[in-house]
């Protein structure tokens, strides 16, 4: 299989259809979360959906739904400050699920820590005319961030490089790179600006740029280009980690192909896969039994 065919095949594998079990579960959890938000805060907040599904860069390995929960500017019921809003939303959600507090979002997990793939993003509208909001920031220098989710969605949707973004997300996930999706999307769009390359060349261009010339790449929030400092999500430590990973990827690509960078094509779910797993298990020479500290 030619490299370009492999990349398109892996993209096909990473597509989640609307009737997939993953998206059905996501919708079910989304409705539960939305009900808790409505039961707690009434009709006051505007609740909308963002994340990879809205942007069109969803992949099976990384499908997130952002439930944005924005309160009117003059509504103080959910809290007087952005911090209070963030904490009150967290408190409401924690009664039902495990909640991981991220910089501006709240990640929802089941009581057994199973990931629901849902982030709740609390915020407050800046005015009544636009969709600009302030979000609370639990870390970093500034305590608030001005942003606009519609602009983010548009920026990605209209980029023309969605397939490349999907594959870079896959590379990030499979290599366990702690690198925010938002920064990744902005980087890919910037690196591939006006690119007329095919997907194979696009990916090589991105990896080469990340491996060689990162200091020359700056990213800006399309919702607030001069106002939002993204240095904490594109800092020297992250750049250094990405450089090493990109160099390794290019080296592996040269000798072992995209399969070594992104993984092999996957066998579809079903009895044949279960049989294959049993065969693989039977060939193990160590046959270790799991234990538990208790």
């Amino acid at each position: 299989m030619k490299p370009i065919e492999f990349l398109h095949e892996i993209l096909r594998e990473q597509t989640l259809s609307e009737d997939s079990t993953e998206l059905a579960a996501l919708r079910e959890h989304r409705d539960e979360v939305e009900k808790v938000l409505r039961d707690t805060f009434g009709s006051s907040p505007t609740i909308r959906y963002g994340g990879s599904h809205a942007k069109g860069d969803l992949i099976k390995d990384s499908y997130d739904l952002d439930i944005i929960c924005y309160f009117p500017r003059d509504d103080k019921d959910a809290g007087d400050t952005l911090k209070a809003i963030y904490e009150n939303v967290e408190k409401a959600l924690s009664k039902h699920w495990n909640v991981e507090c991220k910089t501006s979002a709240l990640r929802i997990r089941g009581k057994d820590q199973i990931d629901f793939h849902i982030d709740v993003v609390p915020g407050r509208f800046i005015d009544e005319k636009t969709y600009d909001v302030f979000l609370y920031r639990a870390s970093g220098e500034k305590e608030r961030l001005r942003t606009n989710i519609e602009k983010h969605i548009d920026h990605v949707k209209k980029s023309g490089v969605i397939d490349a973004i999907k594959l870079v997300k896959l590379w990030r996930n499979r290599n366990g790179l702690d690198f925010k999706t938002f920064a990744l999307e902005l980087l890919v769009i910037k690196i591939l600006k006006n690119s007329a390359q095919d997907l194979d060349e696009q990916l090589k261009t991105i990896l080469t740029a990340l491996a060689d010339d990162q200091n020359a790449i700056s990213i800006e929030d399309p919702a607030n280009p001069s106002g939002n400092d993204l240095s904490d999500i594109w800092n020297p430590s992250i750049r250094s980690m990405i450089t090493v990973a990109a160099k390794n990827a290019l080296s592996n690509l040269q000798t072992r192909g995209w399969e070594s960078v992104l993984g092999q094509l996957t066998m579809p779910e079903g009895p044949a896969k279960n049989d294959a797993l049993r065969r693989v298990a039977s060939t193990s020479t160590s046959r270790s039994k799991p234990w538990c500290h208790g």
Binding site: N175, G176, R287, W291, C292
Partner: protein, 223 residues
């Protein structure tokens, strides 16, 4: 079942230079598994595929912390993708989300000599995730499972002694009943190698389970 009483995380003495040696070996590991990469000196992060004949069957996001080796403990393995429920029946410690891929005593018995990260990953870590893939699809654990906590340890100890000949049992009890363990002693496994070059970690763990007074008691009872 033999009764054992041993605090799980009681550290053994620190091994000097262990981490330098491990760090060098981690490069072989990431060479073998290209979607794993080294973070700092002691951590591996990325994803572990389960493959058959060039086809991927499953893949788990993992993080492996090798620093516990400094204290004679096995590396800490975590599944980071939020796929496996944190439940003892899935062999995930609820407290810290780490995976109990195997019984440390069993691992160090099977693998004498210096710790090798590739052997650890190819063996119990891979077995564990193959097991998780099968259990998630409704199968039982492919090689069985140990009971939780000390009950599992006791079962393992019984199986271990049952697998030994009378002469081997004597050799182990003679060694375990000594108040002090010296690296130049001959390993009771029958390899004729010195303990420090053979089952050092295993013997250390065994001595925690069967302290010298208990080993002496068993030794005398056998006469």
């Amino acid at each position: 079942m033999l009764s054992v009483g041993w605090p799980v995380h009681q550290p053994l003495e620190a091994s000097r230079g262990v981490m330098d040696e491990i760090h060098n070996k981690l490069h072989s590991l990431v060479e073998r598994y290209p979607t794993l990469h080294i973070v700092g000196n002691e951590l591996i992060r990325g994803s572990l595929p389960i493959e058959e004949a060039g086809s991927e069957l499953d893949r788990f996001s993992v993080e492996i912390d090798f620093s516990p080796l400094q204290q004679g403990l096995l590396p800490k393995v975590s599944e980071t993708g939020g796929r496996i429920p944190h439940h003892e029946d899935r062999h995930i410690n609820v407290k810290d989300g780490t995976a109990c891929v195997c019984l440390p005593e069993d691992y160090f018995l099977r693998h004498a000599g210096p710790f090798d990260p590739v052997t650890f990953l190819d063996g119990p870590v891979r077995d564990f995730f193959i097991g998780q893939a099968l259990v998630a699809r409704g199968d039982p654990w492919p090689y069985g499972e140990w009971k939780h906590g000390d009950a599992g340890r006791g079962d393992w100890l019984s199986e271990f002694f049952e697998s030994l000949s009378q002469i081997e049992i004597k050799a182990y009890l003679d060694l375990l009943s000594l108040k002090e363990l010296k690296g130049h002693f001959i390993c009771p496994c029958g390899s004729s190698r010195r303990i420090r070059n053979c089952h050092l970690q295993f013997i250390k763990l065994l001595r925690k389970m069967i302290p010298p007074n208990k080993a002496e008691e068993w030794r005398l009872r056998r006469r």
